[in-house]
Symmetry: D2
Subunit: 342 residues, 4 copies
């Protein structure tokens, strides 16, 4: 078995999670990790068998021993790192979104296409046991041709103010996962987007021209319809999907921490579903990095590529226009706008 | 106990259903029934203890013994019958929609208001055990202030071509129930409507400028959002609702004919939900007519009045414009248009 | 359609329920009802269209116009009434148990056999939509050959002391329904019974040598095993069944009054199942009397006959011995004991 | 953090599973593993960072560097290994059952008591997320005082003939887990056992005087009742529990691989529950070894001790007598019999 050497850029929550999931794999060696607060992670890195800790990501990008890098740093650093990594011939696993700037993401598409490096976008939910079972059932034709998709995606509680400020807004920060799941399950790109949005959870969202509640209607290129329900506050993590087709429907429910039910004279009680994404998508994060490592080791295509990242950002961009201008917006309109800028 | 005398106008499926539900009530006497095919129902009427059968509804409207009438004839006959019935001082239970013509419905509102007769619109779903439990739980504040409403409403199979032709279209024929449920549960009128519609089930719908699949986004006057999912073909009757609020959510599922589950090496199997509205809303139809009889007997307000009928028709009208013009449409715009016509 | 004339003996809760379910049937006329407190039911009887009220059941048994009688009087009056009714050639619907005395029940079997009158035992649960769906699925072979049956049958709360005193004990009063369901679903008589019983709910049961909690193990003649879980206090009505066979299993759950679920930060909540037998078996009571009327009108076999009543009483009798003597008891042993007495 | 050194005796399926779960723990070093087929596991051991592989377990027991051993060899080797390990002062994690011989298990209890080594019995199910949530809810008094316990425990398919022959029979091989869960959840020892058993799945069980289907009734010392349903063939792994108490009930269902449901005109379909114990109790196996390591590192009591192993074996022994002699058997009777032998 070929063994590949990895570098991790960014040791925040998600960077550390990937290290946790990667470190035990026999086909992988994590050689280096970079973080602007390098000193604070030295002990943790040593405990996890990582030799080098640096505060300069270039040390990783320029290390000829490193085959592939994981980009887990803040979104506004992605483009610069990707550019250098592609030049250095590294394979790239990049957290979503690729950038806050569609122009930048288009450049990434170009760099990846011309260089031949592998580039995987971090849409972990495709690897969820429920989502992937729905995909399988759709592929097997169990519910026939696609007519409607319903995605419910709600966080337990809003993030703190500082996070909201730099999040890029609900569409890019939160709904982007749902845009990807929608394309994945419907096996079709999106043609048109319409958003009804509101600030109902916390007025702080209005301060940043953001919203906390949204109903996003999608029209797919294959003619089917879709709708995404987002909220920043459901009190638990609400992640459900319903595929409706010509022959029937396929639904998934939330995952629960246990199956216990209590019946008393006061009615029936169950615990809430798993609290948040780290619990619900725990295994999906493992499968996601495995799929990338497999693609690198065996030189096969990655399952979620740069275009998948781009398409989701296009939808987010159209959604932002729809919210602002209170009208349905065609993806083609966004793409044309980009062409004109160039 | 005061006993009231009833006349039924129209002995189609729904007229007969109301007779079935009314005939055993001790506070009620069904004296007469009219139908254009009077001869074909004489035996059935006799079996159900109805003395008079006529092919002329005026015999009922003009009968001074009759206190209240049920209008179950085709929608395009409603206005004329209502006008005469109100003049004759009869209380009225009228099937939905009141009319295909918002101007007509406004007249009905006026006649009812000025005459003081009771007028109930036949939105039976409000009386469903699931829907009314959701309403109760919302009233008790279990899920807090309203943020989003999700209504799934799909028929098992499309009606036949002749029915489609005269149905008034998906919004008035099918979604109108959902518009009413939305107003009922959210305790708020609708402010704006946006429709994504498609013909995915059967091209015959396109022949009549109708659709068979729709995602209808609502904005309520209270600031909350809503969405209705309609399809003419779900293979079973799909009637679910999810209320999402500041403190949590309330969902209802479909009713099943039994709770049996079979587990074999091939997986787990259950029967489908109840097939269609006659099965699912069986008890709701009973409670609906009881509520009207109670209101007449005790001279209390009806639970679903003419304005409820009018509001649902307004939403249907805005939905039709939205579909045609591919833009969100405000209810106020429809109301202004009506004023200008007058 | 032939119309049959009925007399009802006993106007307690169950007698009144049968009247309610019978009165609207076109093929039936309820002519008379008897009750020791005849005066107290005259108004109710008139309201329900019953002409004659008597305090002497013989007035009914001896009325030549009456085709069939419903015996809803206390169990200790059954034998005498049945004897006279059979002599008078009446068809009989008799509430369970037929008697508190196996010798008496054997006589009933003999009378019915020799006279040719129809005799239905009031095991209403066979007509429950869930139970009958399980039976169908078993018949279709969905779960293969029978291996085990699990019956959970628990009342919401214990009856009052006076009822307990005269109930005949848990086996005859409560578990007898479960014995019948077990025979019905397994399509086999019982060969052996073992009981573990306890007084855990209320010490008052011990005063009458009764128990309130039991686990009853059954061995069927077809070689399969079964177990019944009884309690007098579940806080709601717990009526579930699980058939386990060579090819899989079939389960039914409790029926719920609605499907509403509430999710808040404190977990998920549902209302309890339907409270007690009048709610849960409402439709089963209707179907039960319909099946009897059909058998009489069309001269076809009744679906639950006197032998079904006898077999359930045999099991109850064996259960009582098992509890007293703390050992498994074969049905054959009870039958032999009866033969010796005779 | 103190680090402890481990030796593993037996590298079959369960030995390898424990290595997999132990190897990543920072507080643990697995130094040696023994197996009679030592050569066949050398590569696997090296891959998992174990230095020594031996075919003689004494090399492990006598290694002064080793703090604790895992006994995963066949049951009939346990007593001898435990005796030597206790003498050598090793802490012991021992797979269930401790022995096929109650006399031997009593000796183990004695050795452990007098030596002070820690001894954990491998009842992994106590650590299952569902089982432990039920335990918590019982402890919190959610369902009141214990009245009944219902354990359903069925394997997907029978083991092969050679396994059956050496398994010790259904009670010791399979139901022993259920006996332990029953004691754990009811927080009470068992007083009496009655078994109804049958060979319904495969006649091969009869060849070894074994059964494949059983209903085991328990009476607990606290007065409550219990029942265990076992089958060797459910086509999937059926592991459910219902605690029924004075204030209500607590149930757990099977764990499913996903929550997907498919609805078509042919009804509703779900995948079967997780297939077998390696899938269902995956996390329980991890938590089980963690709990033992914690007890050793922190010198705290083990959560499942030698007496827990003994008590389950006592129940199994009483069950075997009950099956043979077709009568309820008191645990005290088994204990007295043991005393007389000694």
């Amino acid at each position: 078995m070929r063994k590949i050497t990895l570098g991790i850029i960014g040791a925040g929550r998600i960077g550390k999670l990937h290290v946790e999931n990667l470190k035990g794999l026999p086909q992988v060696k994590i050689k280096s990790i970079s973080d602007i607060l390098a000193d604070s992670i030295r002990d943790w890195a040593a405990d996890n068998g990582i030799q080098n800790v640096t505060n300069n990501y270039k040390d990783i990008v320029n290390d000829p021993e490193i085959d592939a890098i994981f980009i887990c740093s803040p979104t506004d650093t992605h483009i610069e790192i990707i550019e250098e990594a592609v030049k250095a011939g590294k394979h790239i696993f990049c957290e979503k979104p690729i950038s806050f700037n569609l122009g930048g993401t288009i450049q990434v598409l170009e760099w990846v296409r011309s260089s031949g490096v592998k580039f995987q976008t971090g849409f972990n939910r495709r690897f969820d046991h429920n989502m992937s079972r729905v995909k399988e059932l759709i592929r097997e034709g169990k519910a026939g041709e696609p007519h409607m998709l319903k995605v419910t995606s709600r966080d337990p509680a809003p993030p703190h103010k500082e996070y909201i400020k730099n999040s890029g807004g609900l569409f890019v920060d939160m709904a982007i996962h749902d845009f990807d799941i929608a394309r994945f399950l419907m096996d079709s790109d999106v043609e048109e987007v319409y958003v009804q949005g509101a600030v109902l959870v916390d007025p702080v969202f209005a301060e940043f021209q953001d919203i906390d509640t949204a109903i996003i209607t999608l029209k797919f290129e294959n003619g089917a319809l879709g709708v995404i329900h987002n909220s920043r506050q459901a009190h638990y993590y609400d992640q459900r999907v319903e595929f409706f087709g010509s022959a029937g429907s396929i639904t998934i429910q939330n995952d629960n921490p246990n199956t216990a039910e209590v019946y008393t004279q006061n009615g029936a009680y169950r615990d809430n579903p798993l609290h948040f994404f780290l619990e619900r998508y725990k295994e999906a994060y493992v499968k996601e990095v495995l799929s990338f490592i497999d693609a690198v080791v065996n030189d096969t295509p990655v399952p979620v590529d740069a275009n998948d990242g781009y398409q989701a950002e296009l939808i987010a961009s159209a959604a932002a226009i729809s919210l602002r201008e209170r009208r349905p917006v065609r993806i083609e309109e966004v793409v044309s706008g980009l062409r004109q800028k160039v």
